[in-house]
Each structure stands twice: as structure tokens, then as C-alpha cells.
């Protein structure tokens, strides 16, 4: 019950934060330009009544504060408002985009986490060995490498590989072929061929940071008194590492991964652009380019909820692990 109360308190604190942030972002996007610019600049000119109808549909004929109020009251009632794209349903669009992004973000996070744990543990256990130096320098290399750079290089590598193989194994755009192969095996290979490069990009970028974190955490634990005691009492090294050290050293990494989820989500903007996946990142850029206030707001709402939820998840995790936090009012 203490944890439920704690969670509720955190949620209540999040509401004013969300209100202020949505207001500021609404103002920023609404003032960033006119979404009907293209329509107004058309040659031959678009009839004025058509432009007026679009202005009315998007609420552009109202003061910005009124527009924000309309948006806010609409959202409370489950209406995300009209999109600049006349036929687009923002809710439906977000739903499909979220699914596409989550498909490779979750897989990438899982692979990155497993790799980070393995590399971090080996690095810590074999500190200052050639293996540790190799992992450390590799980690720093990927940490320093911008994701778009890495993505472009990987694409080029994929094209070279295809040329060597004499057939298309790796694809550089989209999440699947427009005309899918007829066989099940072919379809699986097609999906894998589209997924491999964006996933590797996200994996390498995140694995680098997380493996450094895991190494540091593992080194702390290995130097602690209770691990030394366990070793001194004659427990097997593998048992000490697995049951005593690793379990404890994992806790901070789990928290970091939970908090990093939003960063991975944001990193997907670049990855999706380079690989042309029509996910959340692509939707954000498209909406900003189109000055589609309601679409941007809906995206940010999803992102904000994700931030709040994952922060809450991290807090609860802490609270579950450390009872002292639950008692802090």
C-alpha cells in the first residue's frame, strides 16, 4: 500500500508539469509559422473561401490561448484535434507509428542490455586486461559516434555486402518490402533484412553507454566487503560473481535502462529518418515540418506520458529496493 500511495503522489506531481509543458510547447509550435503557407502561396491562387474553410477547420481564426484551451478540453475528452492533413486521424496515426517504433526500439534495447551486461561484467572481472582495453576503447568509439554517422556507414556497408553477395540481403529503407516474397521463409528474411541495420545502430549506441555503466557498477560491487568476505569464506568464484556480485550490480543498470528509455525513443528520430521507418520519430519531424500543432502536441503527450511512467517505474523500483525512500514525504 505504501508503494501505491507513493506512485499516486508522483502522478499528481506530474500533472502540473504536463500542463505547463504542453502550454509552452503549444505556444512555441503555434507561433513557429503558418501551416497554410503552402496553400496561400499556390499558383494559380487557391480561392479565398477555401483557405478560410481550412483556417476554420484548424481553428487558426481563433486566438492562440483559445486554441490551447480547445485542445486541452478536447484531449480530456479523448479528442486530439484536427490535423493539417485533412484526412489524418492523429490518434490512429500515433497508434500505428508507436507500434513501428516499439518494434525495433524494444528489440534493440533488449540486445543492447544483454550485450552491455556481458561486456561490462567481463571488463570488470578482467580489469586492465587486453579484453578490458578492447571493450573500453570500442565503447568509447561508439559513445563518440553520432547515430546518423553510424547509420550512414552501416547503410553503405549493407550495400557493399549486397554487391558481394550478388543479391539484396540488406535493405536500406523501410520496414519491409512493398511486394513481399511469396514464401514464409522469404518474408522472415525480408523483415530481418530491413530490421538489421536500424537495430544495430540503436544497439551499438546504447550498448556503449550501458556497458561502461555496468563495468563501473560491477567494479564497485567486486570491491565491496561482502564480496570479499564471500570469496574469503571459500565460495567458488563463479558463485560469488553470479549470486552475490552480478545481482547487486544489475540493479543500478536496470534503473538506468528504465530512465534511458525516453532517450532511446528520442534517438529513434534520427534512426527512423535515415532508414525511413515510419515511426514516432518520423511523425514528429513530419508534423514539425508541416507546422501541425495538434500532431506535435499528441506526439509530445505520448512522449511526456512515457517519461512520467518510466520515471515513476524507476522510482517505484528504487522504493521497492530501498524502503527508506518510501518513507520520505
Amino acid at each position: 500500500m505504501e508503494i501505491v500511495g507513493f506512485a499516486l503522489r508522483r502522478l499528481l506531481v506530474a500533472i502540473p508539469v504536463l500542463l505547463v509543458s504542453t502550454f509552452l510547447i503549444f505556444l512555441a509550435v503555434a507561433k513557429s509559422g503558418d501551416p497554410l503557407t503552402e496553400l496561400r502561396e499556390r499558383q494559380p491562387p487557391v480561392p479565398p473561401h477555401t483557405i478560410a474553410a481550412e483556417e476554420a477547420r484548424l481553428g487558426l481564426d481563433q486566438p492562440v490561448l483559445q486554441r490551447y484551451w480547445n485542445w486541452l478540453t478536447g484531449v480530456i475528452q479523448g479528442d486530439l484535434g484536427p490535423s493539417v492533413d485533412r484526412n489524418a486521424d492523429i490518434g490512429m496515426e500515433l497508434g500505428s507509428r508507436l507500434g513501428i517504433t516499439m518494434r525495433f526500439v524494444l528489440i534493440a534495447m533488449l540486445i543492447a542490455a544483454v550485450l552491455a551486461i556481458l561486456v561490462g561484467v567481463v571488463s570488470a572481472v578482467r580489469q586492465y586486461s587486453w579484453l578490458d582495453y578492447l571493450f573500453t576503447s570500442t565503447g568509447f568509439l561508439f559513445l563518440a559516434m553520432p547515430s546518423f554517422w553510424l547509420a550512414v556507414l552501416l547503410k553503405q556497408g549493407g550495400i557493399e555486402l549486397n554487391a558481394l553477395a550478388g543479391q539484396t540481403l540488406i535493405y536500406t529503407v523501410g520496414d519491409s518490402s512493398v511486394i513481399p516474397p511469396p514464401t514464409l521463409g522469404g518474408r522472415i528474411a525480408d523483415l530481418a533484412g530491413h530490421m538489421i541495420l536500424p537495430t544495430i545502430t540503436l544497439v551499438l549506441i546504447n550498448f556503449a553507454a550501458w556497458s561502461r555503466f555496468q563495468r563501473s557498477s560491477m567494479l564497485d560491487v567486486l570491491g565491496s566487503d561482502y564480496v570479499k568476505l564471500a570469496t574469503a569464506k571459500g565460495l567458488r568464484r563463479r558463485t560469488v560473481l553470479r549470486k552475490y556480485a552480478l545481482r547487486t550490480a544489475l540493479t543500478p543498470l536496470v534503473t538506468v535502462i528504465a530512465l534511458d528509455f525516453t532517450a532511446v525513443f528520442a534517438g529513434a528520430v534520427v534512426t527512423e529518418t535515415v532508414f525511413q521507418w515510419r515511426g514516432m520519430g518520423d511523425y514528429l519531424l513530419e508534423s514539425i515540418n508541416g507546422r501541425d500543432v495538434n500532431a506535435v502536441m499528441a506526439w509530445l503527450l505520448v512522449a511526456a506520458v512515457a517519461v512520467v511512467l518510466f520515471n515513476l517505474f524507476a522510482d517505484i523500483l528504487y522504493a521497492a529496493l530501498d524502503p527508506r525512500i518510501r518513507r520520505v514525504r
Partner: protein, 570 residues
């Protein structure tokens, strides 16, 4: 005005990287034979080849279709037209060489049969039907007219009413296969009308004119076709796949499947082309893109001069700029070739300064040459600083200490030069003009705008650089740009009003050309607008596909998809 948003995603940051990596890997390509050898208008016989039946071609498009009705105001987007060109029947079609012709697949004849009242007759091929077997008839012309005429449908939201609001009646005879369009007043650019037809028999099942036009056709993926291809599958944000229309009444089509692949970032289309995931792309040309595409083997790259031209405009309502002498001096001092060489000339070698505001070099109107250089002959745009200084001193201006003083002894104030936010070429152009005018003692303060339309329409500029898209028959554009009702420069001229009105009512092409060139010469004389260059159109396609070519008009590259196919003649 400029159609395409100059922004693009992360472009500046990644372009160099993409270029480096691509160039490193793709040297030794064989494509690009047309680039850099001088830029000309599109050619109707470019890449002409015998093609075989079968195969799939993917054409990269930058936008997903958000409105399936390309006659609707929000559906009139270049990318949407590319996708729907193979589906909608065309009565008239604009060709790569800037001519407007009847679509031979659909019509046997399209001509003026009576001058007063102007009456145009279209004869539809007897075999022309929609994909459900319903004949294409005068009813389709009538519906297409009604939804674009405010008197027939006040609540319809068309992209344009030009010409349709001048129609008195559309009637059918000969089982609807002969269409007679009678105009209220003579309408010279009648050939621009009916580029796309909508199916009246489907509209009739969807409510009144406004409901069917604004709602049904806008929101519904067409399951019907009156063109060579039929939409087989639409995957939102991903692709539109088409198959052959079994009821197509013309020659071809040859490809089994035609795919429009939606790639929102043009730079990614380059790697997709290198990996053979797409076979055709028509990106906005930049130095990076041209170089990258040229580096891909088995890809042909070509540039064609388009119907969009960049120009420098002066706001004559500004107190200092109301003086024609100052305006003439400014245009005399601007060196257009230097601007071209340092901007688009980097990738479109051979581009020359443009000498007309209504016609492009090589353009013909009904077979009559239309282009005349009215700019260089007026002594404008050659960067002649001494001549510019003489214009000023003859008018009583004084140039001294890097400052310009008007004949009344008052210093000419700094002038605001506006350009589109995020458009590097326009920024570079503005900086070059700023430096050129400094020699006359004129100070330009560069100021970007993120709403070009509003800035132009409200006259919120002293000088401005932007682009205008001409139609293949420019009478309507000339009226809206240079006529008193439309002028954004504040320059009004009753004689020009008379000439553009007369041009719009004249069916004799030579007379139209003469009138529009009189307008152009007057604009040069009054130094209101200085044309700089034609914006080039870039196309890249896999070299084994025939009959794919640049069409820099509104129809774009997909104007002839029924001819596309894999080359069979080696």
C-alpha cells in the same frame, strides 16, 4: 511562388557525411551523362526506347497521400499528382517541352470550333472507359467543371477555378462521346483545363457535388481508374502499388507493377537507388545530391530547366524605391551570372540568366516562338556598376563615402532584403546582391521569413528573392502577378492591366505572345522584377528502364507511365 518547402530534415548535418561515404564507395559510376553539359528544357523524346512487357518499377515520392482528390485545394500537391497521374484520365496534358497537347489516348480531337462565344469541342475515343466498364463521357467533363465553378458549387473547395468560372455550359452528344464546352467570355488558356477528369457516375452515388468532391474523392483511395494503372494496394506512409488497368484503352502499359515508394528524406533515396530498392527519383537538385547520384553505376541522371524561375522583386511602395531611377540602378548593378555561378551553377553548369518573366527559353505557344530577352536588352542584370552609377548620378543622386544620397539630399535608408528561412540558395543570392549593391552605397539588411506567402502578399519587404511557377500557358499567371489586382510589388499600370486582359481574351497565339512580351518589357523598363534563372529539375533513374524522363511541368515525370518499361532494344 515557390511550391516546395525549402527545409528538410537533418539535411545540413548529414549531407556531408552521406556524400563522403557514398563518394568513397561509389566512384566510377557510368551514369550522369546529361548533367553539366548545359541545362535545357525537357525533351519529349529523351530516353526513348523500345520496352518489353513485365517487371516492376518503384518511383520514390517524398510525401504520403493525405488527399486523394488532386483537384481539391489540399490535394493539389506535386507528389500526389505523380501518384494519381496513372489513374485519372487526362483530356489535356503538359509535355516536357512546355507544350500543352490533347491526350491522344483519350481524345481524337480537342479544338475551338467557334470563336464567339468561344466553343471548344472534345471528341472522346469510343473505346475509352473507366475500369468498371462505364464509358468516359461528357458527364465526366461536366462534373469536373461543376465542382470547380463557384456558381455551380459554392461550397466545393477546388485548387483552382481558373477557366471553369468562365464556362457557360458543358453538353454532350454522340452518346456523350462529343463534349461541347461553351464559354461566357473568350478564355485564351482553355488548353490548361481538364488536365484530370473525375468519374461522374461514382460521384453520383456519393451525394451532392460538394459532398462527393470535398469528402468522398478526398478521403477514399480510388478503386477505380480511367488511366493505364489501377491502385492495387495502399499502405499508409509506405507505398502505393498499382497493377495494369484491364480496361485501359490506350497503348501499353508495360510494367506489371508500378510502385510509388514514400521516402520522406530525399537523401535516403540516393542509397535506396544505389541498392536498387527504387528505380526513379525526382529530388530537388543540390550539389550533394547531383554528385551522389552521378556516382551510382547504372543510373542515369539528368537536369532539365523547369517552369519555376527565381527573381528579385522591389517594393515600389517604399518611399525611396518609388523612384524608378533607383530601381533601375539596383537591377543594373545586380550580376545575375555571378549569382548563378556561385549557387545553382555549381551543379547545373551552363545555366544562363533568364531574360523573360512570362516565357522560358525555347518555349512555344501553339508552335510560335514565345521567348524574347527583355531583360538584357534593357541593360539589366549584368552587374554593370558603372552604368548603374550613371543612372543614379543622371537622376541627381550622389554616391560618396560608401553612402547614397537622393536628389533632395536625403540619405537612402538601409533596405530590407527578405529571403525564405532555411533556403541556402536564396540566402547566398541575397548575400551576393548585398555585396553588389554596396558598390552603389546601398545597404541591404538581410531578413529571413518563415512565411513567404504572407510576406509577399502583405508587401512586407523592400527587396525580396523568391520563385514563381509559370504555367505552360502563362496568361493567367501574368494577370495574377503583374495585373493591378494581384501585384505584390505595389506597381500598378493601367496599360499592363489592359494588355493582360486582352491576352486572356485572345485566341491568336502570336497576339498573346506580343501582348505578354509588352508586359514583360514594361516591367523591365520600370525595374520592378528582375528574373535571375530557371530552377533546374533533376531526375535519376536506373538506366535499364526506357521512356522515363524529366517533365518539368505540373504533370511531372509520371505523365507517361503507360510507356515505361524495361528496355528491350539493348
Amino acid at each position: 511562388m515557390s511550391y516546395r518547402n525549402p527545409h528538410r530534415r537533418l539535411r545540413a548535418a548529414t549531407a556531408a557525411l552521406a556524400l563522403l561515404s557514398l563518394l568513397a564507395a561509389c566512384t566510377g559510376g557510368t551514369g550522369g551523362e546529361d548533367v553539366g553539359s548545359g541545362v535545357q528544357a525537357g525533351q519529349v523524346d529523351a530516353n526513348q526506347a523500345k520496352v518489353g512487357d513485365g517487371g516492376t518499377l518503384a518511383y520514390s515520392i517524398e510525401v504520403d497521400v493525405k488527399n486523394w482528390n488532386i483537384l481539391h485545394a489540399t490535394g493539389d500537391v506535386f507528389g500526389y499528382r505523380q501518384i494519381l497521374n496513372p489513374v485519372l484520365p487526362h483530356a489535356m496534358i503538359s509535355l516536357p517541352d512546355f507544350t500543352m497537347a490533347k491526350n491522344d489516348a483519350l481524345l481524337t480531337e480537342a479544338k475551338v470550333v467557334k470563336d464567339s462565344p468561344q466553343t471548344v469541342e472534345y471528341r472522346i475515343r469510343p473505346e475509352a472507359t473507366w475500369s468498371d466498364g462505364t464509358p468516359i463521357t461528357a458527364d465526366d467533363f461536366k462534373y469536373t467543371w461543376q465542382v470547380q465553378d463557384p456558381q455551380q458549387c459554392a461550397t466545393c473547395e477546388p485548387a483552382t477555378q481558373a477557366g471553369y468560372d468562365q464556362v457557360a455550359s458543358v453538353t454532350g452528344s454522340d452518346n456523350g462521346k462529343t463534349v461541347t464546352v461553351e464559354f461566357k467570355n473568350t478564355y485564351q488558356p482553355w488548353r490548361l483545363m481538364f488536365p484530370h477528369l473525375l468519374p461522374a457516375h461514382i460521384a453520383a452515388q456519393q451525394g451532392d457535388l460538394a459532398t462527393s468532391f470535398n469528402d468522398y474523392f478526398s478521403t477514399t483511395v480510388p478503386t477505380w481508374s480511367g488511366g493505364p494503372y489501377l491502385i492495387d494496394q495502399y499502405v499508409p506512409n509506405q507505398s502505393v502499388t498499382m497493377k495494369k488497368n484491364p480496361k485501359w484503352y490506350g497503348e501499353g502499359p508495360h510494367l506489371d507493377q508500378l510502385v510509388f515508394r514514400i521516402l520522406t528524406d530525399e537523401r535516403q533515396a540516393v542509397t535506396a537507388m544505389a541498392n536498387n530498392e527504387i528505380q526513379v527519383v525526382v529530388p530537388r537538385p543540390t550539389l550533394d545530391l547531383v554528385e551522389q547520384l552521378k556516382g551510382i553505376s547504372n543510373v542515369t541522371t539528368s537536369l532539365a530547366s523547369g517552369l519555376v524561375y527565381e527573381h528579385l522583386d522591389i517594393n515600389t511602395a517604399h518611399p525611396a524605391l518609388a523612384d524608378v531611377a533607383l530601381r533601375r540602378a539596383i537591377f543594373t548593378a545586380v550580376d545575375r551570372q555571378a549569382i548563378i555561378d556561385k549557387t545553382i551553377g555549381q551543379f547545373a553548369a551552363g545555366t544562363k540568366a533568364l531574360g523573360n518573366r512570362n516565357f522560358m527559353p525555347g518555349q512555344k505557344l501553339e508552335g510560335v516562338d514565345a521567348y524574347v530577352d527583355n531583360v538584357t536588352s534593357a541593360g539589366l542584370g549584368d552587374g554593370n556598376i558603372e552604368a548603374a552609377k550613371k543612372v543614379l548620378t543622371d537622376a541627381g543622386y550622389v554616391i560618396g563615402d560608401g553612402k547614397l544620397t537622393d536628389p533632395k539630399g536625403k540619405a537612402v535608408p538601409p533596405l530590407r532584403m527578405r529571403y525564405s528561412k532555411g533556403n541556402q540558395v536564396r540566402l547566398d543570392t541575397s548575400v551576393l546582391i548585398q555585396n553588389q549593391l554596396k558598390q552603389l552605397g546601398i545597404t541591404l539588411q538581410l531578413q529571413e521569413t518563415d512565411s513567404l506567402g504572407t510576406t509577399v502578399n502583405t508587401g512586407d519587404f523592400d527587396l525580396i528573392v523568391f520563385g514563381t511557377n509559370l504555367d505552360v500557358i502563362p496568361t493567367a499567371t501574368a494577370q495574377s502577378v503583374f495585373g493591378s489586382k494581384g501585384t505584390h510589388t505595389g506597381y500598378q499600370d493601367q496599360e499592363i492591366d489592359g494588355w493582360v486582359s486582352e491576352a486572356a481574351r485572345t485566341l491568336d497565339p502570336q497576339q498573346v505572345i506580343d501582348l505578354l512580351n509588352k508586359v514583360d518589357a514594361r516591367i523591365s523598363e520600370q525595374a520592378v522584377t528582375l528574373p535571375i534563372y530557371q530552377t533546374p529539375t533533376l531526375i535519376a533513374y536506373r538506366s535499364d528502364f526506357g521512356n522515363v524522363r524529366a517533365n518539368p511541368t505540373r504533370f511531372g515525370t509520371s505523365y507517361n507511365t503507360e510507356q515505361w518499361g524495361i528496355k528491350s532494344d539493348g
